[in-house]
């Protein structure tokens, strides 16, 4: 099992899709989807054992590697895996083959480029989750924009260009400020030690004044908040979701949004613990998360377009994740992590289902449906299940995660927790009518009577999602176990710094905790 002890498994997971992309471009168009499917299946098969080979002890990074890339700048090819990134990697690997299956008949023109873009996108996303060099991280972070941009802009709906450009500019603008932040850390490190390094571990040990922390945290937080997206910066998301082809929406909701929350957990919090745990920051983000939950729930409730409705629910769900993260305690952050996974399977499932419906009826308008349970019962069943999972019914992952988040929040801000809890009810308020108006009621449109039910391929791609949703809801323990050391480590870091940091004084982060070595190497 050497493969799983070394970095090769991560390197493979990152670059196999890229190789697949090249192969898909070279082979005839008819083969492209097969290439993509096989790449996805191999990716999933290689990734799955990570769940067992990952050792849930200690907070140290696993499968680490550091190979010189641009050595005179201290840029290394550094990868590593911990309890936080493990599940994001698994989620990405899971969604890739499913996305290919979901696009199987949906994409009819320029297939080669489409599947190549999809695979290249996976490389970027995978890289973001395992990169431990800030330069490498930034490169992956930006790199994934290009394929996503093309996925939306070329294969999207009517307003695809608007959506694609908005998506690109929002994200790119935010991340450029982060780039300045990264460079600032780099030059601080160089001034301090005389060595060039972009290593995450090195930056963790950098002492920063509280003023510096505040600015840097702001630079990072804006980049991540756009990606999450946190309330006032969310407007790109509905546009992108509605216009994107199914596979695009799936990966957007499934993993791309998680890059934002992941960024908070991996970078913004541990690097700038003083600024992140300041009372104003916590309150600000909690309130923004709360607004996200309530406001978008209300907006979602009046959407005539089912896809747009689901897009808004993403903002609401990730509002919970933001709450959990800024609760800064074990329950909150674990809840946020579980929510990232749960949302990463339930929302893609909804998008898949809507995509299948669209292939049959060429519409996302709720008005155009009704009574589908009579004509396509399997679809109806799946949609009801996915909707309930999205609402967070007990027994699904959504329930566990939201419950944990609320407990975590309650410990710091009981009132916010109280209001947020009503968001769970709101979820039912927008989701259930949608389900009712599409699959129940009476079948009014004759055209809907003749549409075929889900085929084997479609059922096959939904079943794994169903299984994972149930698993998360019923027995999340193995997952929580694997997260726990990393989460504990993160909290310890933030907590200790809270005592050290007083305004105007340097926060000596490295001396703050002795178990730092865990992450550093």
């Amino acid at each position: 099992m050497d493969f799983y002890r070394s970095h090769w498994v991560l390197t493979f997971l990152v670059f196999a899709p890229l190789i697949g992309a090249v192969v898909a471009l070279v082979l005839p168009a008819a083969r492209a989807r097969w290439v993509a499917l096989w790449t996805g299946v191999i990716e999933l098969l290689v990734a799955t054992p990570l769940f067992w080979t990952f050792e849930p002890v200690g907070a140290a990074m696993q499968n680490e590697v550091a190979l010189p890339w641009i050595p005179n700048w201290g840029i290394y090819y550094r990868l590593g895996l911990d309890g936080i990134s493990l599940f994001m990697v698994l989620l990405t690997a899971l969604l890739l083959p499913l996305m290919v299956l979901g696009s199987w008949t949906y994409i009819k023109d320029r297939e080669r480029v489409f599947y190549a873009m999809l695979l290249a996108l996976t490389t970027g996303v995978m890289g973001v989750f395992v990169a431990l060099d800030m330069f490498l991280f930034y490169v992956f972070w930006e790199m994934m924009l290009i394929p996503m941009y093309f996925l939306i802009g070329v294969w999207g709906g009517k307003d695809r260009i608007y959506a694609a450009v908005k998506f690109f500019l929002y994200t790119a603008a935010g991340s450029l400020l982060m780039l300045v932040g990264i460079l600032y850390l780099f030059s601080r490190y160089q001034a301090l030690t005389g060595e060039s390094s972009f290593a995450y571990g090195d930056f963790l040990s950098l002492p920063l004044t509280s003023g510096e922390q505040a600015w840097l945290f702001a630079a990072f937080a804006i980049a991540f908040a756009i990606k999450v997206p946190v309330f006032p910066l969310h407007t790109w998301l509905p546009a992108a979701h509605v216009q994107a082809p199914t596979a695009g929406s799936v990966i957007l909701a499934g993993v791309l949004l998680k890059m934002g929350t992941y960024g908070f957990l991996r970078f913004a919090l541990p690097l700038f613990p003083g600024a992140a745990s300041a009372d104003t920051t916590v309150l600000l983000f909690m309130v923004l998360g709360l607004i996200g939950i309530i406001y978008t729930a209300m907006v979602a409730a009046v959407q005539p377009n089912a896809k747009r409705l689901v897009a808004y629910t993403s903002v609401a769900h990730l509002g919970f994740a933001v709450l959990g993260i800024f609760a800064l305690n074990v329950q909150g952050i674990q809840g946020a992590l579980i929510l990232m996974i749960a949302h990463g399977v339930s929302t893609p499932m909804l998008f898949f289902l809507l995509g299948m419906l669209y292939e049959r009826t060429h519409s996302y308008e709720i008005e155009d449906f009704g009574g589908l349970a009579a004509s396509i019962p399997i679809f109806a069943l799946m949609l009801v299940f996915a909707a309930l999972a999205s609402i967070g019914l007990p027994g699904t992952g959504g329930f566990v995660s939201e419950f944990l988040v609320l407990i975590g929040t309650f410990r710091v801000q009981p009132w916010i927790a109280f209001i947020a809890a009503s968001g769970v009810i709101f979820a039912a308020f927008y989701m259930l009518p949608m389900v009712q108006r599409t699959v129940f009621n009476s079948l009014t449109r004759p055209a809907n009577r003749a549409i075929p039910d889900l085929c084997g391929r479609e059922i096959a791609l939904l079943v794994p999602l169903v299984a994972i949703i149930l698993w998360l809801g019923i027995y999340p323990r193995p997952i929580l176990e694997r997260m726990e050391p990393s989460v504990g480590r993160l909290i310890e870091r933030v907590e200790t710094s809270r005592f050290v940091s007083t305004p105007g004084e340097a926060v000596v982060a490295s001396s703050a905790s002795s178990s730092d070595e865990g992450i550093r190497e």
């Binding site: 700048w73 930006e142 802009g153 260009i161 450009v165 690109f168 500019l169 790119a172 603008a173 300045v180």
Partner: protein, 501 residues
């Protein structure tokens, strides 16, 4: 070998690349004349290839310069690796310009041997400009370059746009030469020399001299005109737009590289002692240029003109590197210049590829569906555009990062943040071209439009694109070279770069 310029013959060695290229340019002229006799007809292809060969020979001579050293830094021409690096950039720019002009000139009916000869003469001027350590040599080099370029811009004299561009370029170009020359006169009067190495030790005493400061200010204005920094850019869009596209490519790359090299030599090295004075002015110019040019570029409907404004914006980025005032600044400058030359010349090459016959109108809409019609050139153009925007996976990203890094290390956080914000604006218009290329359907009648870029040009574009990518993935070697080239530049004691001999 060591040169000490004790005998004038040493200058012949120090100027070997320039001499080779000048003679070669005359040879090109002769070959053309003897081939054609007194017939009025297009030049043979051999003239273009001969010119390219001249650039290759010059590049060899330029490489040879690395093996010789100078005993002191008092000569009129510098013999250092900074100059060698800049020369290589200029030669690459000239080679790319020649490669994309093959076929293009025939189409416009201006395939005359003089075009290539003038292009080579302009290149000689650029090379001298990067080498000048004496203000008078700087002036002469600048004029050698400019006079050749005035002609090149107006080379298609039957085209009113070309003539108009030439007139504007000529009037404003010689206007700026006037400033430059008067500045030199004042500096000469106060410092009693035009040699920068003689001026450097006097700077502490000259700091208070109004005559010197005014002279330096006029020099700054003159050079700012040449590098096209706002608000001294008014000639740029017109000259770039009107000129035959290969000339535009050369002006946007080689001319800018050489003029900026002179900027570094005069201000960063020579006038380092009055950094506080000129840095204030330059900071404002840089801010104005970055934001102004990017904002105006947004409003352009013509791709060629958009690229003209983009090159002005890039002058702003390069100013940030000059202002960084540390060892990384100049190295970042060299690295960025290399990437910039490749991507800008490449982008203009695509403009040629997508123009319609002799009509040079290059509206944004003309690019609809270009990416799907011409997969290779579309991908190449996308790479250039992303690189111009400074996006990861391209050399433009590393270059911009280098500039940002040098700027942060110098404590110019505001400039670094401004550069980033300006880049955000630039995303809009670079991206718009990509949008049109891939996401807007081509009009039906365009389906079989041919690409107007000949094989050599296409090859050159592809190689440039690969080079732009390579400068991201394996930049180590070039970064090293840039760093070392700069170290040799700042052997003049008392420079703010603080890199002793």
């Amino acid at each position: 070998m060591t040169l000490d310029f004790a005998s004038q013959a040493d200058y012949l060695l120090a100027l070997l690349p320039e001499i080779v290229l000048s003679l070669w340019a005359m040879l090109v002229l002769m070959v053309d004349v003897f081939q054609k006799g007194n017939r009025v007809e297009a030049s043979r292809p051999v003239v273009a290839w001969l010119s390219l060969a001249g650039l290759v020979v010059t590049a060899a001579a330029n490489g040879w310069l690395l093996t010789i050293e100078e005993a002191a830094v008092t000569g009129m021409v510098a013999v250092d690796s900074f100059r060698v690096f800049v020369n290589f950039i200029v030669l690459i720019a000239a080679a790319l310009a020649i490669l994309i002009s093959i076929g293009y000139l025939d189409r416009r009916g201006i395939n005359r041997g003089e075009f290539y000869a003038l292009l080579l003469f302009a290149t000689v001027g650029m090379m001298l400009l990067g080498a000048a350590r004496d203000l008078i040599l700087l002036f002469l080099a600048l004029e050698l370059m400019s006079v050749a370029l005035y002609v090149l811009v107006g080379f298609d004299r039957r085209d009113p746009r070309s003539s108009e561009g030439a007139l504007k370029y000529f009037l404003l170009g010689s206007f700026s030469s006037g400033f430059l020359l008067y500045g030199i006169a004042l500096v000469f009067g106060s410092a009693r020399s035009t040699n920068l190495s003689a001026i450097v030790p006097l700077l502490p005493s000259l700091q208070e001299s109004p005559m010197f400061l005014i002279g330096a200010g006029l020099l700054l204005v003159g050079l700012a005109f040449k590098v096209a920094v706002m608000p001294f850019h008014v000639w740029t869009p017109d000259a770039y737009d009107g000129a035959p596209t290969p000339v535009t490519a050369l002006m946007a790359t080689g001319v800018k590289a050489a003029a900026f090299a002179a900027f570094i030599r005069v201000f960063a090295v020579g006038f380092a002692g009055i950094y506080n004075e000129w840095s204030v002015v330059l900071s404002w110019l840089a801010l104005l240029t970055m934001f102004g040019a990017n904002l105006i570029a947004l409003t352009q409907g013509s791709v060629k003109r958009m690229l003209a404004y983009s090159s002005i914006a890039h002058a702003g980025y390069l100013l940030v590197a000059v202002l960084a005032a540390n060892a990384y600044g100049a190295a970042a400058f060299l690295f960025y210049l290399l990437v910039y030359t490749l991507m800008t010349a490449g982008a203009f090459g695509i403009v040629i590829a997508n123009s319609r016959g002799a009509n040079e109108l290059n509206k944004l809409d003309d690019y609809a569906g270009f990416g799907w019609r011409e997969p290779l050139l579309g991908a190449v153009f996308s790479i250039f555009l992303l690189s111009l925007a400074g996006f990861p996976l391209t050399g433009g990203f590393i270059g911009k990062l280098y500039i940002l890094r040098s700027s942060l290390e110098a404590g110019n956080v505001e400039l670094a943040v401004s550069l980033v914000l300006a880049s955000v604006i630039s995303y809009f218009y670079y991206l718009r071209v990509v949008v049109v290329m891939y996401m807007r359907p081509a009009p039906a009648e365009e389906a079989n439009r041919t690409v107007l870029l000949t094989g050599p040009g296409q090859l050159a574009m592809s190689v440039s694109a690969v080079a732009v990518l390579a400068l991201f993935f394996v930049p180590g070697w070039v970064l090293d070279v840039a760093q070392r080239s700069v170290a040799s530049l700042f052997t003049v004691p008392g420079t703010f770069f603080g890199l002793g001999p």
